[in-house]
Symmetry: C2
Subunit: 332 residues, 2 copies
């Protein structure tokens, strides 16, 4: 009927396939129906990505789609929820063609399958500006089990999932920073780091353990230290992180060994999409056993003790305020 309809029918309708909802994408309707089970509540979050701010305009379309979905799934998972459905708003510059859209839809399809959610609605608009993708993600959570940011208490153990800093280093690789061209760095590590930047993998597999054990949690999207600061502020507590405990991938370990100054990038760089969680001390062992791939990195303390980052020798690390605040760099 219209260009918008053609576009939706061809690329996005196939992604609205689930039986659980009345889907909507300017197709049969423009409003979707959600019917959570009686013992469940709905989580909802939204994150937008803008070309040249949050990704490179010439990144492969399927990786852009993957990332747009992943960053939203990450928010749901960090609250203990299971992602279920999402709405996609995409602002398309004139230079976007059918090939790009097909690859984008392929990437979205693969990502939604990997994360266990489905498209239920959205909007397509044109823009004279950069490509922008805004996703609203919904998730299920057992009634009363949402893990907020503000539940951390002194004595709680601080955990992080996966490994930290890969994406921040991967961004430098993507930007062809000089050290990445050094012969000393294994190309396989560089490829691994770049991939971690381009295709973050939110930890859907530990959502139920987060819901069961965490007193507070959030995803690590703006840098470990900055996000830890936010969690502690929301919970009105202080905290200690031991850098030597922060889990690094083999790739990041190798890169940092050759470029020690990059450790700050690892700790503050962002785009990790791992989960930062606090767990009461008496539950910490069980959480550690049941949740895949989580690592103790610190402790929650009283607020008046402030925020401390300890180096490998247990010495207090001096970090600029910028370590906690990258919004100025990456946003505006």
């Amino acid at each position: 009927m219209t260009k918008e309809h053609d576009l939706i029918n061809r690329y996005f309708a196939p992604l609205c396939s689930g039986p659980s909802v009345a889907p909507a994408f300017g197709l049969l309707d423009d409003t979707a129906l959600l019917a959570p089970a009686i013992d469940q509540q709905l989580l909802i979050t939204t994150d937008a990505l803008v070309a040249e701010v949050h990704f490179f305009a010439d990144d492969a379309a399927d990786t852009i789609a993957h990332k747009a979905l992943a960053v939203n799934v990450s928010d749901i998972v960090a609250k203990g929820g299971q992602p279920t459905s999402y709405l996609l708003t995409i602002a398309l510059p004139k230079n976007i063609d059918a090939d790009w859209l097909a690859q984008f839809a392929d990437g979205l399809g693969a990502a939604q399958q990997a994360f266990g959610c489905e498209l239920v609605g959205g909007d397509t608009v044109s823009t004279s500006g950069p490509l922008m993708i805004s996703i609203t993600m919904l998730g299920n959570i057992d009634r009363g089990k949402m893990v907020k940011r503000n539940g951390a208490a002194p004595g709680d153990v601080v955990f992080v999932s996966g490994s930290i800093g890969d994406a921040a280093l991967g961004l430098l690789v993507r930007r062809k920073t000089p050290w990445a061209a050094n012969a000393g760095v294994d190309k396989r590590w560089l490829d691994y780091l770049r991939e971690r930047y381009l295709r973050p993998l939110p930890r859907v597999e530990i959502a139920s353990q987060i819901a069961a054990y965490a007193s507070a949690a959030m995803d690590v999207s703006d840098g470990l230290l900055g996000d830890f600061d936010k969690l502690c502020a929301a919970s009105d507590v202080g905290g200690v992180i031991e850098i030597a405990r922060v889990p690094l991938s083999d790739a990041a370990t190798s890169v940092v060994a050759n470029n020690p100054e990059l450790m700050e990038t690892v700790l503050t760089g962002g785009d990790d999409y791992e989960v930062l969680a606090t767990v009461p001390a008496d539950l910490a062992d069980r959480f550690e056993q049941e949740a895949l791939n989580v690592t103790r990195i610190g402790l929650i303390v009283e607020r008046q003790n402030g925020l401390k980052v300890l180096d490998a020798d247990g010495q207090l690390l001096e970090l600029a305020q910028s370590a906690y605040d990258h919004f100025g760099d990456i946003e505006r």
Copy 2:
């Protein structure tokens, strides 16, 4: 803490005041919690507005906010739902300043109060392109009562709320089209039409009658005839609309009397945000009595009878395909 946090705290946090949910806007959390009552389901829809596509960049900030919210409320109302909460994603160009944001937030606050919903989350990003506002709106609907587009059946009466064409004419006024400068047109009418374009008023007051009586419904956003075409296509039926019955405001009546060629603009121009609904014939009287300000404009017929638009003499009106498809003009 950060510029984004400052911005959210100052302008948007005051709009997250309701008791019904755990709000989220990068504040205490970045994920909101929704807990619909057991006998209710959730409607969800999303519509984005881009500067110079859906509004003028120099429109007053409060009217832009009003419109962004109104177009989303309109989708919920047309499904029979009551708007409850929304997420706001805003992409800000560099030239947006604090005054603009304050006015935008004021407009949003006034609009959410008028429509009975509240802010529960969102995202702010910067863009090198035009201002863009993407809203995801949630609404409550009694279980099983969502009114879809595909329920119209032959014999159903076609209704529309309010008056049609004001916004399309108002857009021409806003564009300073020559007829609007003619001395023959009353300035009060021009002001009225421009206001109808700038501040659409979705018919929240008839949502429960839509839910109770309508077999199919949608909001009129892309022009009455085009949207009627969509509704009939979704329902696999034909339909007849009698132009003489289409409700026009006094302002539109006056303008069209002086400029008869604008009747096509009235019928196809879009941005009405009225409700188009079909009601089984035996319920039509009750709907007409109970729903404020609705008008019978036509009838649903068998699919093979196609789509017909009759003029004041009952003659078939010839309309170009473009009458049903403005996406090419207004979108890309």
